[in-house]
């Protein structure tokens, strides 16, 4: 993602949606930096995806999946 504009209300970024690029308004996510993953709704970023939280949840979920694979009840 590239970010342009200094006015916080007009800060916007070019966001890659699996190959399709669109300009997205970043007024609600001042913390977003190039390279971040964001949640977009009607042209606005509404949150920055928290990679650490996602990894933590997912490690737990994978653990449940692995237990089931071994025939153990989670």
């Amino acid at each position: 993602m590239n970010i342009f504009g200094d006015d916080p209300a007009f800060r916007s970024g070019s966001v890659d949606f699996c190959g399709v690029r669109k300009t997205i308004n970043l007024a609600f996510t001042p913390e977003v930096q190039p390279g971040d993953f964001i949640l977009v709704h009607v042209g606005f970023a509404i949150s920055r995806i928290d990679g650490e939280e996602a990894a933590r949840t997912f490690n737990y979920l994978e653990h449940i999946g692995a237990l089931a694979e071994e025939g153990l009840t989670p």
Binding site: A9, N25, L39, T57, L61
Partner: protein
Amino acid sequence: MRYVDEYRDPQIAHALAGKVAFMATRPWVLMEVCGGQTHTLMRYGIGDLLPKGIELVHGPGCPVCVTPLELIDQAIHIAGLPGVIFTSYGDMLRVPGSHCDLFQARARGADVRVVYSPMDALNIARENPTKKIVFFGVGFETTAPANAMAVWEARRQGLSNFSMLVSHVLVPPAMRLILESPKNRVQGFIGPGHVCTIMGFREYQELAEEFHVPIVVAGFEPVDLLEAISMLVAQLEEGRAEVENQYSRSVEYQGNIAAQRVMRDVFTVADRKWRGIGEIAQSGLVLRKEFAAHNAERVFQLEPLFVEEPKECISALVLQGLKKPVDCPAFGKRCTPMSPLGAPMVSAEGACAAWYQYKRHA
């Protein structure tokens, strides 16, 4: 795509369903409030993965579905006026008014345009200074900050030819209505992850405490929903009624403060009629007086309307989780996505449309 594909992993999905089956000692009725979640549950057949006793009912969380018939009629009226360019999210165009829909209005010559964002409607207003540009501002809390920003910017930029026809609704008052009903069957809620991304989940804690009902704020992928269901069943089996956050990669307790600020600056809470349900106190957002110049109801001096819903449509009961779409005699016969009687058959997020698409042959 990262943060999406891994939440569609079938092995994890099956493991979570197994966990639910292991934990559940009795039947439980769970409701997903949000239409986006209804769509995922139907598309991936998640109900079929779960043990028989776990019943999923669909909530009122489809903004297209709950926009009152009167407002659709008013939108069609405005769209037909000379010099108006009427702009809307695409899914509103097929919603039946009492005589026609916005697509049919367009076929008769009205200038009706689909936009991706309310900011696109602002651009149209800037490029067409001699026209009146109206945006149909429909949605829940997720969409409200974007729509608020468009009105805020219209005022800042002096775009006096831009106005908004507002039909904004709020989730917690609708959940309260469901919980207060003597016929309520819902024992746990899958909370709306995108609404909570904006609003946080303080209001949901109040509901959980007051009604002793567990609520798990969840994402929109199959694994998200299955994890939320397993968290709900764990709470119910243990007799707990708390708010838990399954969607922590996006939702924080306080929500998105910047978005809430713009929402509060532009909108104020008011009573609002929900299609199929009726008026719910303090359940909607309207433009503040300071923005009256951008309020389409004022600009076009709309009179209050009252229109009867089609009698055969049971959408009120479907939206409150009291009936399933297949319980309706018109379902799939006189009411289909191509020719909908009621709004839940229109939007992809509507419970009836989701059942029609994924479960009508089940």
